[in-house]
């Protein structure tokens, strides 16, 4: 009986957007009189942080400070259509819709600023903090707030924009399976280091090391948040979770968190991750979706690490201590002459 350590690798790809497309989302943007911008959506934040990501995309296109952006979601009476939060689609779909809406709003903003400054709008640039400046003339500028006030009270114009993103639906050929099922693919490689207790069958995940390629990290801290959360879920899928512990037998189904086990704080491994960016041709600033995939590569990496540690090859999730012990017994039996 011993505690044996092993290492396993897995590499995966993951599609961005609803399989086969046809999943549009819209965004509406308008400026308040004092130069803040409201982005109206019907998209849902499940905890992934879409308000922050959409704020950054809006601020980038309009050239204003993120603090001047307000995300208003989700009310179907006021928000334009969003297909929903799934399929790692929100950053890609809604982000693109916002780029379109913000581009339209930015044009009006610069038109008005140009009239106020008596220059052509193409001679203007935004400084990202709330001022619109004449290119090459740092002293000649107008604040976004003054431009917004002028637009409303003086020029009678709305600084607003409409945006939509739709990847047209692909219909598969049912003879061959030919289809266009994704907008782009993100990639990951995860290495798991585990320790297997051959007496109890207990598996401890010691470390998860990953490299993720996600097109463009709109916010690297929130990318990391997805990697950490997904690693935990992947580890939990690999070793702990099921609603039917003796599937396909329906007995012993857990009904609370005493029976439905998940890793606690003491079980959480050390994480290490790096991000690669290969911008996609169709994502906002090249971004691909990272939401779902972070749970995927840890599962086979852990299964492979268990085999590396103790020679137990388990093809049946979750890899519970019972399955580890049975696999070790079977391996010992098979090794007998």
């Amino acid at each position: 009986m011993a505690k044996l350590r092993g290492r396993g690798i897995a590499a995966v790809n993951y599609p961005t957007g609803m399989n086969l497309g046809g999943d549009p989302s819209q965004a509406l943007i308008h400026a308040t009189t004092t130069g803040n911008f409201v982005v109206t959506l019907s998209s849902v934040d499940l905890g992934q942080g879409l308000r922050t990501i959409m704020t950054q995309i809006t601020a980038e296109v309009l050239g204003i400070a993120p603090e001047a952006v307000m995300i208003d979601t989700a009310d179907t009476d006021t928000g334009p259509h969003c297909m929903g939060t799934f399929a790692s689609r929100t950053t890609h779909r809604v982000g693109n819709a916002i780029i379109m809406a913000a581009t339209e709003a930015r044009k009006v903003l610069l038109d008005v600023a140009g009239e106020e400054l008596e220059v052509a709008p193409e001679d203007l640039e935004t400084d990202g903090t709330g001022r619109i400046v004449v290119k090459g003339v740092p002293g000649k500028s107008i604040s976004v707030q003054d431009a917004a006030l002028a637009a409303h009270f003086k020029h009678g114009r709305t600084i607003s924009g409409r945006g939509i993103y739709l990847k047209p639906r692909s219909y598969p050929d049912f003879e061959t399976g030919a289809m266009d099922p994704d907008s782009c693919q993100a990639h990951a490689c995860t290495i798991a280091e585990v320790e297997v207790d051959t007496e109890t069958g207990d598996v401890r995940v010691l470390k998860l090391i990953s490299a993720y390629e996600i097109g463009r990290a709109i916010n690297p801290m929130m990318v990391e948040q997805q990697i950490v959360g997904g690693s935990w879920m992947g580890m939990s899928h690999a070793l702990y979770e099921t609603t039917e512990p003796y599937y396909p037998n329906r007995a012993h189904g857990p009904v609370d968190f005493l029976g439905y086990l998940m890793p606690g704080p003491a079980d959480i491994p050390e994480y290490d991750a790096v991000i690669l960016e290969r911008p996609s041709t169709n994502g906002p600033f090249g971004a691909k979706g990272i939401g779902e995939m972070t749970a995927n590569s840890p599962i086979p990496a852990i299964a492979n690490a268990i085999f590396d540690a103790c020679g137990a090859r388990i093809d049946d999730l979750p890899i519970t201590p019972e399955k580890v012990l049975r696999a070790l017994d079977a391996a010992a039996l098979a090794a007998q002459p």
Binding site: D77, P172, E277
Partner: protein
């Protein structure tokens, strides 16, 4: 914080940004961790009714009789909803994208196809009264044999549990979804090694902190506001209106702030009952899953059984891959016919294999319907693919990083579903991960690139 590797794809990622790429703290972090964020259930409505479901005790049974008298006598019970109250009781969630037919009842009629299937909904002044009454609903059943195993379900002699006469979803006249390219059988004959292994998963719960729920509130003018933790506001509005026979304009969904979803809040289950209750009583109605319901009745991640047969050349190239996927949809379709196509579209994984056959069945069994969950159609496939890759590497005495690099897809390669690969980066993430742990790669592997095959 996770570092961005700036020396990979340097030219492609060039650009100058002001807000993109900044590690801004998330806007709602403070309100989330201090409990100030308002979720749907934080809204208080006077005169609120609570809905609790009486559910099937059997995996498969005919309903002979439902006796509501004891339930109706419980103090505080305002109304009991049965299938007769639901204007369009039969529905299917993907009818909006044309994946029919209607095959799931909102409330059971003459039979139940899984343990936990909703039969009648109690509406009461308190949750306790509703629970007490639900426990007093007396259902007389005639038990039928249950089909719980996907392999059994698709055997020719197994009785069909579904009215359309089989235990599989029908894709345009076909009993499964199929993808192929090249000639898999011929390539198997040419292969130096054959690897054939089967992989299995069990159903998995989304386990959000906030269970699935909604409150429907009658508004002036015959409208209803749904405060919901749905992941898809309009999808919920449209499906609920179709089930209830309501003009779409009479529903309004308010949400957008959800305490964890992971795909579990994409089915439209609680909202039609809450609105129907509000329509029939004129009072606000809350219908929220208990933790036990969330775990055993709310749709889980499908269990999948995946067999992969690979033909491998002596040098490690995978020249043929045949994948058979059985997705356990449970008793009703929900999003599983879609997830099955997504599972097939994902194969053979991020590798270029010239000869591929994929056959994927969406199989009905007498268990809780499965549906969307994070990584839908892909997560379990990746487990099968990557354990298979590990087996091949070990059997052939190959470095597991290098076997993957050798077979990794590159820009310009053709996927099994005949789309050309672009924006590939599998090679680079494997190289980066290897470097992270100091795992040595051969000079050829270090020189590889996703941009071209060398």
């Amino acid at each position: 914080m996770a570092r961005i590797l700036e020396d990979v794809f340097t030219a492609e990622r060039a650009g100058s940004f002001q807000a993109i790429g900044r590690a801004l703290p998330r806007i709602d972090a403070h309100s989330h961790v201090t409990g100030a964020t308002r979720y749907y259930a934080d809204r208080i409505f006077p005169n609120l009714l609570h809905a609790v479901m009486a559910r099937s005790e059997h995996h498969h049974a005919l309903i002979r009789h439902v006796d509501l008298s004891a339930a109706q006598a419980v103090k505080g019970v305002a109304r009991i909803l049965t299938h007769k109250d639901v204007p369009n009781n039969w529905y299917t969630i993907l009818k909006l994208i044309g994946l029919g037919p209607d095959e799931e009842p909102v409330l059971a009629e003459d039979r139940v196809l899984y343990r936990g299937e909703p039969i009648v909904a109690i509406l009461a002044d308190t949750e306790a009264a509703a629970r007490e009454a639900a426990a007093k609903v007396k259902v007389e059943y005639e038990e039928l044999p249950a089909v719980l195993d996907v392999e059994t379900a698709i055997l020719p002699g197994t009785p069909a549990i579904k009215p359309h006469g089989s235990n599989v979803f029908v894709y345009e006249g076909r009993d499964h979804f199929h993808v192929h390219c090249g000639d898999t059988e011929a390539a198997f004959r040419e292969a130096d090694h054959i690897f054939e292994h089967s992989y299995q998963s069990s159903p998995i719960e989304h386990a959000p902190v906030e269970t699935t729920g909604a409150i429907a509130v009658p508004e002036p003018g015959g409208r209803y506001t749904l405060h919901s933790n749905t992941q898809a506001a309009f999808f919920t509005l449209d499906n609920a209106a179709l089930i209830l026979g309501l003009p779409f304009r009479q529903l309004r969904v308010v949400g957008g702030t959800v305490g964890g979803g992971f795909g579990g809040k994409v089915d439209v289950i609680v909202e039609p009952i809450a609105v129907l209750g509000a329509m029939l009583t004129g009072r606000p109605v809350k219908y929220s899953f208990s933790r036990g319901e969330e775990m055993q009745v709310s749709s889980p991640r499908a269990a999948e059984r995946i067999r992969i047969k690979d033909g491998v050349a002596a040098d490690g190239r995978i020249i043929a891959r045949d994948v058979r996927i059985l997705v356990d949809a449970g008793a009703y379709s929900r999003h599983s016919p879609y997830g099955t196509i997504k599972a097939a579209a994902h194969m053979p994984g991020p590798y270029t294999v010239p000869n591929v056959t994929i056959n994927a069945w969406c199989v009905y069994t007498n268990r809780t319907p499965s549906s969307a969950m994070r990584g839908f159609g892909v997560t379990i496939g990746d487990f099968a693919l990557e354990v298979q890759m590990d087996r091949i590497a070990r059997e052939l005495g190959r470095d597991p990083f290098e076997l993957r690099l050798q077979n990794a897809y590159r820009d310009g390669d053709l996927k099994a579903h005949r789309k050309t690969v672009e924006g590939a980066a599998l090679v680079e993430v494997i190289q980066a991960a290897a470097e992270r742990i100091g795992h040595p790669l051969s000079p050829e592997c270090r020189a590889m690139s996703s941009c071209q095959r060398t």
